[in-house]
Subunit: 555 residues, 2 copies
């Protein structure tokens, strides 16, 4: 029996999953919670208070997690390291960092450790909005064509926004950086000793496309003369397609993590993107929704299409031979967790404790007794801005319909419904722009945890929702890519389609829309759409103005 | 020393206050919490589930409370009942009930006790909206002029809306009722044995005016042919001005409550209206804000003026010789209590418990550390509809600006700010329509309890707020009217102005606007106004449509 290893780097933890190559059977898994988690209040080295919207990570957590979890799955399973034929990592993105000539993060260097720009900028670092604005305005002014591939807007979360923020605010860090690199490619560099750059993050997060490469140097120069040669000076123009082999495990790293030197390492990948084949999807017309703290929506297509506010489409960005379309919602599981933590009355907390269940389980239980529309509540799911289709981090949450009898479970359900309406907006945008969404497969933590939520999504979207069988689809997807990097000759696969047939499954239980629920939700969605456009398409910019006042009052 | 007795009937309790006539010194007070409180879920007699928006009371609570509290203040103070020269009651309004020929509430009669329409309809009974709509549409169609005195709209809370609902839904109860009467006048009937009707509720709640009386019978006929003679059959055209003597305490009632037969009883009154002289205000240009679960705004003027959405103006309705203008906000203290009960996390409840303080005190403490605008939140204070100036019970709450770091104290403060914006809308409406608001005096429970709230009101309205010295302004006001009903010859006063000079005071501590806070609040108020008009003036009727869907889903 041969095995492949998937390593999934999430926002708060890293997970290793050891999988039988022939069957997809998951034989062992191990999770490491990052000791520094998300750094959004104080810089660990100096205690410096971070400005609003900052979110950093400590790359030491990535290496520690790698060693501990890989050794743990080997120990748990008793699998012989020689039978592990391949591995692949996937990561949050754009999560990027500056490194030195030796490949070490600048924040490991005592000289730079107290400079916050030397640390990893996590995907949800939102402080580069001024740079994103400049990137967008300059692209529009110069008539750059790449904008259209990204729904018309580059996000503050993406690579060049973050890179430009380093240049703006810490030109010394920028100058000291030998490379600026995605964390996923950086971990691969540690594994293999060679720098590779993956097409997925390059395409989705760094304005690169297969046919034309990066935007011209003249564009970068227009952003800042010092930024003209950013690609050649700090990055690479050699971008590798998904499924190819990045290299082999170095002896030093093999010793550290307990695998054999020479083990095939696939080109690094992104969490949401590896989930697609792991959710059985290897053709067009099917949306994969990776549902956790946020939702990523992935669809394959045969042709490029322009869809408003999508995060981007990238040729070969998900699977070779397809255009991979991605959209996203930035506040889903986070939303419900915020509510449970900040807005749930003591009597509920006590009831949950007495019954030995989680507070969200209790809220779901109470909320599942409500009919659609029965609360009279409607929310806009913008507690963390709006990614698709408005691409606007300055939007904020809204709820209306409250009265003096409104209960916590009604608000909780309204927040869930709001995220379902957000998903429906995205499906409509794809569907009406030629990217068909005929079926949906969900994966991630939420579908495992909340049946009411899945039924609401089915009712709102009026589509059947299937659920990927694996509870850790991302890690499984990475293991599948690891098997492809190893190749058939070594006991793996030559093609991700073959790997998906053998290694990926959906559950028997699906969620089908209930017509009378959909009828109500169709009315509520129409109301959502009106408010979405009123607040989101600048009929009333109150959310932005309040945010400006807030920033002034904080400073 | 002579004494006067004020009895204040609130939403949840009755309070008796014994006052020295010469000085206004409060010598004893006693509170009775109604055993049946607000009946809004199940009818006590039958257990019948009440429909949405119903709010009833049990008139037995009024009599029980009367006996217990009056005896208690006499006992506490040791005052000789012979020295109590006068008394007056004030009440919530419109709070009305059907009674039989003997003056007994129909709900006391076993034959009618299980009929919900036989009980007292409390001021916040909101189920007569269809009738209110008919009253307004018919008045507009027939060109009735009374509408303009009420800001263009009659509320579902008012007398004829409630009376017409009885006729619509329970014609047998309507037929069986010898009279339909305000609870305040009914208690006076119990005290004196004679039926009197006060100008205040007739004017503010029953479309009566001094010059022309009630609307013509033809109008009532147009509402329903059976309603044509409602005034003559179920009410009275003899309306008595404030300050006059309704009668004298009957021997039977005197024995029950421990006073002397023949004690002067003033014409019954309304809680908010008696508060005006008790807050020292006996002339035009000064707003009295009675701040508790809701806010009533009272201003005196010398001429009739049309102000959008005011609850009404009534000649002699507050003080003889003045037009009394009233406006209102239906959700203030209720709003904050709802939040504290339903949306405040367990950790806060625990902290409050540990420190031995109330949850709202804790929230206020945390919220008072925030600067204006610092939370980024903005709310519309419509959790209980909007009384002034939109007169629309179908409006609901709205909040926006939330993000994943939003804390309970920020929401709490935003709700308080929203009610301050609501007050400012009302002040602007008065001020811009010729009813000057040069000064403000607040009274009621809130100013006693929450200094942060008062400062926010001062900052938002950019006006100094004074506070009435008495913690029970309504009961004091009633005691003042009781002293006027007794008259100077008996040791009282011939005039409420004289009574106010001797018996009413404001505190030394006032709340002055802080210019830099007002500058921020002026911006936030502009945003509030835009959303107020968008959701409240029918640019987007989403709140009404959601309420319809909610009602359908409940039924």
């Amino acid at each position: 029996m041969k095995y492949s290893l998937g390593i999934d780097y999430g926002t708060l933890s890293a997970r290793a999953l050891l999988v039988e190559v022939e069957t997809g059977k998951e034989v062992a898994t191990s999770v490491y919670e990052y000791s520094n988690a998300v750094i959004d209040e104080y810089l660990p080295s100096s205690g410096e208070k971070l400005p609003p919207d900052w979110a950093l990570q400590d790359p030491a957590d990535y290496l520690t997690g790698l060693g501990l979890t890989v050794k743990d799955v080997l120990k748990q399973s008793g699998v012989n390291p020689a039978d592990v034929i391949g591995m692949c990592i996937d990561f949050t993105a754009c999560t990027m960092l500056p490194i030195d000539k030796a490949g070490q993060p600048l924040c490991f260097d005592p000289k730079w450790r107290d400079n916050k720009h030397a640390w990893v900028k996590l995907w949800k670092h939102h402080a580069a909005q001024p740079e994103a604005n400049r990137i967008n305005e300059t692209a529009e002014r110069l008539g750059e064509t790449f904008l259209k591939r990204y729904g018309g807007k580059i996000s503050s979360e993406w690579f060049f926004s973050k890179a430009l923020q380093i240049l703006d605010e810490a030109p010394d860090v920028y100058a000291a950086a030998d490379r600026l690199i995605e964390a996923t490619d950086w971990v691969n560099l540690q594994l293999t000793g060679v720098e590779t750059r993956n097409a997925c993050t390059a395409g989705y997060k760094a304005m690169w496309e297969k046919a034309t490469g990066f935007p011209p140097n003249s564009y970068f120069k227009a952003l800042d003369p010092r930024f003209e040669h950013v690609v050649d000076e700090k990055m690479s123009r050699k971008i590798m397609p998904m499924g190819s082999k990045a290299g082999e495990l170095t002896p030093a790293m093999a010793a550290k993590i307990g695998l054999k030197p020479g083990t095939a390492v696939a080109v690094a990948n992104v969490d949401a993107h590896v989930a697609v084949p792991a959710a059985t999807v290897t053709k067009e017309g099917i949306m994969v929704a990776i549902m956790g703290t946020s939702i990523c929506h992935m669809v394959l297509g045969r042709e490029p299409k322009i869809v408003e506010g999508m995060c981007g489409y990238v040729e070969d960005g998900i699977l070779p031979g397809f255009f991979g379309f991605e959209a996203g919602q930035s506040c889903v599981g986070d939303h419900f967790a915020w509510f449970a933590e900040n807005c749930c009355p003591a009597s509920y907390t006590e009831e949950a404790k007495e019954r030995g269940i989680g507070i969200q389980q209790l809220l779901s239980e109470k909320a599942s007794k409500l009919k659609p529309g029965q609360s009279g509540l409607l929310a806009l799911d913008w507690w963390n801005g709006n990614r698709s289709i408005l691409v606007d981090v300055d939007l904020t949450g809204m709820m209306l319909g409250m009265n003096l009898n409104t209960k916590a479970e009604e608000i909780y359900r309204a927040l869930i419904e709001a995220t379902a309406y957000g998903t429906n907006i995205i499906i409509d945008a794809f569907d009406s722009n030629g990217v068909a969404v005929n079926e949906i497969v969900a994966c991630g933590g939420l579908p495992e945890k909340n049946e009411m939520l899945m039924q609401i999504y089915a009712d709102v979207t009026n589509r059947e929702w299937k659920i990927a069988a694996s509870a850790q689809t991302c890690a499984l997807g990475s293991a599948m890519w690891g098997a492809v990097a190893a190749g058939k000759a070594k006991g793996g696969y030559d093609d991700i389609v073959d790997a998906a047939i053998k290694m990926a499954r959906v559950k028997d239980r699906t969620f089908k829309p209930i017509p009378e629920n959909h009828a109500i939700y169709a009315k509520l969605f129409a109301e959502y759409k009106t408010l979405h456009d009123y607040f989101g398409r600048r009929a009333n910019d109150v959310m932005k103005r309040l945010k400006r006042i807030k920033e002034e009052q904080h400073s």
